[in-house]
Amino acid sequence: MDILSFLVIIPVLTVLGIIIAKDPKHTRIISAIGMGLQLILAAYLVFAYLGERNAGNIAEMLFRQDYMWYANLNIHYSVGVDGISVAMIALTAVVVFAGIFASWKVDFLPKEFFISLILLSTGVFGFFISLDLFTMFLFYEIAVIPMYLLIGIWGSGPKEYAAMKLTLMLMGGSALLLVGILGIYTNSAPDGGALTFNILEIAKVHIPIEAQRLFFPMTFIGFGILGALFPFHTWSPDGHASAPTAVSMLHAGVLMKLGGYGAFRVAIFLLPDAAQELSWIFIILTSISVVYGAFGAIVQKDLKYINAYSSVSHCGLVLFAVLMMNKTAMDGAILQMISHGLMTALFFALIGMIYGRTHTRMINEMGGLMKVMPFLGVAYVIAGLASLGLPGLSGFVAEMTIFFGAFQHTDVFHRVVTIVAVSSIVITAVYILRVVGALLFGPIKNPHFEHLEDAKWFEKLSTVTLILAIAAIGIAPLWLSNMIGTSLQPIIDKLSMIIP
């Protein structure tokens, strides 16, 4: 058995273990052990990957495994990773691990909660290791559907509405995506020969431009909906606000990254000509996402809504960078995915913990929390600073790289949209600092808050895991950047063939 398939097998085994478990305590322990193993495996994968690269292995994808599945349609179970997928897998493992501890206190149907949560993560891991569009899509859908139950059963507020809206919009997106994928498949052998779903094989052929024009928008919007592309982002604020803590973490932290990852791995990599031709439309839409999300965050009063809109803005930036289609910007896009994934997961974890104590998420009802819960307060400040791009934390590196990359285009259009997008940094600073000020400092408005406890051990564990990862990227970005950079090369090479 190969190492990559274990990334799918471990969660599945964990789920089976939970099914057998007798009481909630065992459930939690099994989940923690399973996801702990997964984290170790992910860390091992990072080192194994770097080791292979240092040993001079220059294959595009490492740890390849390929099993024929449906021979007559040429569907394979085909896995392999490059630096980008390894980074995403590591991100997912960290966030899921932190998520398990953030939901340690789930007491309503805990078994079902952890099963759904881990199934969701199975889909995400499977998605990142897939090299075959069929299995990629399969895992994508597996990642989306547990969301419905997670939000519907354990959510808060108008949870049924939010769950249905989120599921239907994402499934609508996957409908577009499915047509796009089938379009790519049926055009994957323009010179005759067997049709294929394999991404690497398809990248070698040149899909006719008419087909690209039809399927690029479908594929890009399909993934874009998950990446909160304006105007298809509306599921995101409602969904995040209603979701339970760990689900918001996973969703904003990891699931939305599926959109960004798919957008460049499938839409842009396989359909580069149309991407080049039509990118302006989507650049405009993503710049709107970036700025609109940031403004949206300013006017919100609910902590989760603020963060959800901020996610729209940050994920918009990912798609924006991907569409710039040069190496620096794409580099930044991936850094941004990882950085935002960690940071937003931290945010949502902290919001969940604060909400669990104060029973409100409205910032005007809170204040002075730093005095009663210093640990959570400090962590919140760190998350905020990372989010607004303070040097030394992960956000700075990512956003700088993106804007550098975007500015490499010398024409007026790209310059203008870049300047528009850059303005979001300022707006981000406004809403982050406003929230931090109102939430943590000043007088304590509610006397009931004075007796609140600070974080418990499992909450600390969850928080520290995420903070460590954020700081690691901020301090040593080169390490990650190198890993990503070499893997971006094939994509850039393919793009440079068509860009004059």
Binding site: I75, I145, Y148, G152, M164, L168, A175, V179, L182, L195
Partner: protein, 473 residues
């Protein structure tokens, strides 16, 4: 013709023998012990199912009137599998007091319709097809009216027989035109002389309308909801799964072998009807409260998806259709199985009644959820694979927009399937359906369905086997 050739009709022969055995047993068993027929008939049918899987000769009989090939054998086996599940699900219902005296009738009627369907699938001539179809339809009306003291059930029987008579009339008119223009009712002769002259086109359209009644394609679907709602639950599942599946099988065969010369006429026709069927089925399903009506409309929508594969009109298309129906049988029987178990325990069959079901009957809710997800085409259950391959078939024939409409419809369908899931898992209820133990036969049936839902999808050999015996245009 010698005796050996006769065994080509093995499926039908064994089934006929079983039917007669049940009949004789019924005559010889004392009134108080009629319930023994249940075990007898089910066992006999299980034996029939197993015999069906033995390798068999293929060939023609009665001067090409009757044909059998590996594909047709597989179709019959698929139907047999579905029927055994239904028989297991029916046990609880048949054991109730009101059915005490008519147990064997149920089996006789089911077996005779099944014989009809199997002859229909093996038809080599329109005459045979028509005979099989009638045999499959007329006893069905009696089945629908099985709960004769229930007003709805009697109504369902009448509605079914009237609309079936109507559709048969249209069908036979089409067949007579076909005979009139080609001078033959044999498939191979007709295929040689078929072209797109106006009369032959008309004949085809009449024939197709007759078949569309059976598969309940829009606009010939109006009988479906009422009949499904009125019939006893297990008869409804028989109607919506086996009867529909058999008609779809023969439709594919006829379209691909007899009418392939006028594919340019039936493809656009199918295109329109497919879009209509999916959309109308889905939009009506959203509004339903009664689960039987709900599943009726959902099964109309599913029929629209089947057409997608037919339009794909290739080996992949043929394979995908057979495969999809195979998957559909398990998904729909899973859903109907849960509905019937709950109905016969509590007499409840509305979506609202299912509120909070997960908290009292978690296993049934999970089976229902998996079955519904399979119908909606959500992985990892088999429905996802079924739909994906249908879409692939249509896409590889270049019908991207049709695929697009279909996937949008799949999303709409997900909405109403989720409504049921929501009722079971999310909605609160002060008086949920109390916990109860499911009877063993029904349990076995549900387990078969669940295993089927997982195995058919992941075990690719099934799909590949069907492809190896399929033929395309």
């Amino acid at each position: 013709m010698n005796l050996e050739n006769f065994f080509l009709m093995r499926h039908e022969l064994v089934l006929t023998i079983i039917t007669l055995m049940v009949l004789i047993a019924d005559l010889s068993i004392h009134e108080d012990k009629k319930y023994k027929i249940i075990a007898l008939a089910t066992t006999l049918f299980a034996i029939n199912l197993i015999i069906g899987f033995f390798p068999s000769l293929t060939g023609n009989l009665f001067g090409n009137m009757y044909k059998t090939s590996d594909l047709q054998l597989t179709m019959k086996n698929i139907l047999n599998l579905g029927v055994i599940v239904i028989l297991l699900q029916s046990v609880t219902w048949l054991k109730t007091d009101e059915n005490k005296l008519k147990i064997s009738e149920f089996y006789l009627l089911v077996f005779s319709t099944l014989i009809g369907m199997q002859f229909m699938i093996s038809a080599g001539s329109f005459l045979m097809l028509y005979l099989g179809l009638e045999l499959a339809t007329i006893p069905m009306a009696a089945l629908a009216a099985y709960d004769r003291f229930r007003h709805n059930s009697a109504e369902a029987g009448i509605k079914l027989i009237l609309s079936a008579a109507m559709s048969s009339a249209v069908l036979i008119l089409g067949i007579s035109f076909i005979y009139g223009t080609t001078g033959s009712t044999y498939f191979d002769t007709v295929a040689m002389h078929y072209s797109n002259t106006p009369l032959q086109t008309l004949a085809f359209i009449l024939f197709f309308s007759g078949m569309a009644f059976k598969i309940s394609l829009v606009p010939f679907h109006l009988w479906t909801a009422d009949v499904y709602e009125g019939s006893p639950v297990n008869v409804t599942s028989y109607l919506s799964v086996i009867s529909k599946g058999a008609s779809a099988f023969i439709l594919v065969i006829v379209l691909f072998t007899v009418f392939n010369s006028i594919a340019m006429i039936w493809k656009p026709l199918m295109y329109i009807i497919s879009v209509l069927t999916m959309t109308v089925g889905n939009l009506f399903a959203i509004r339903q409260q009664n689960l039987k009506r709900f599943l009726a409309f959902s099964s109309i929508a599913q029929a629209g998806f089947i057409l997608l594969g037919i339009i794909g009109a290739s080996e992949i298309g043929m394979t995908s259709v057979v495969y999809f129906i195979f998957v559909y049988i398990f998904s729909n029987l899973g859903a109907f199985g849960v509905v019937s178990v709950i109905y016969y325990k509590t007499q409840k069959e509305c979506i609202d009644d299912y509120d909070g079901l997960y908290h009292t009957n978690p296993k049934l809710s999970l089976v229902m959820m998996l079955a519904l997800f399979s119908l909606a085409g959500i992985p990892p259950v088999a429905g996802y694979f079924g739909k994906f391959f249908l879409f692939t078939a249509a896409a590889s024939a270049g019908y991207y927009w049709l695929v697009f409409i279909a996937v949008l419809n799949a999303t709409i369908s997900l909405y109403y399937y989720l409504l049921v899931v929501k009722a079971m898992f999310i909605n609160k209820n002060d008086q949920p359906i109390a916990y109860f133990k499911t009877d063993v036969p029904a349990k076995i049936a549900l387990i078969i369905c669940v295993i089927g839902l997982f195995v058919i999808g992941f075990y690719s050999t099934i799909y590949q086997y069907i492809q190896s015996i399929s033929f395309g245009l």
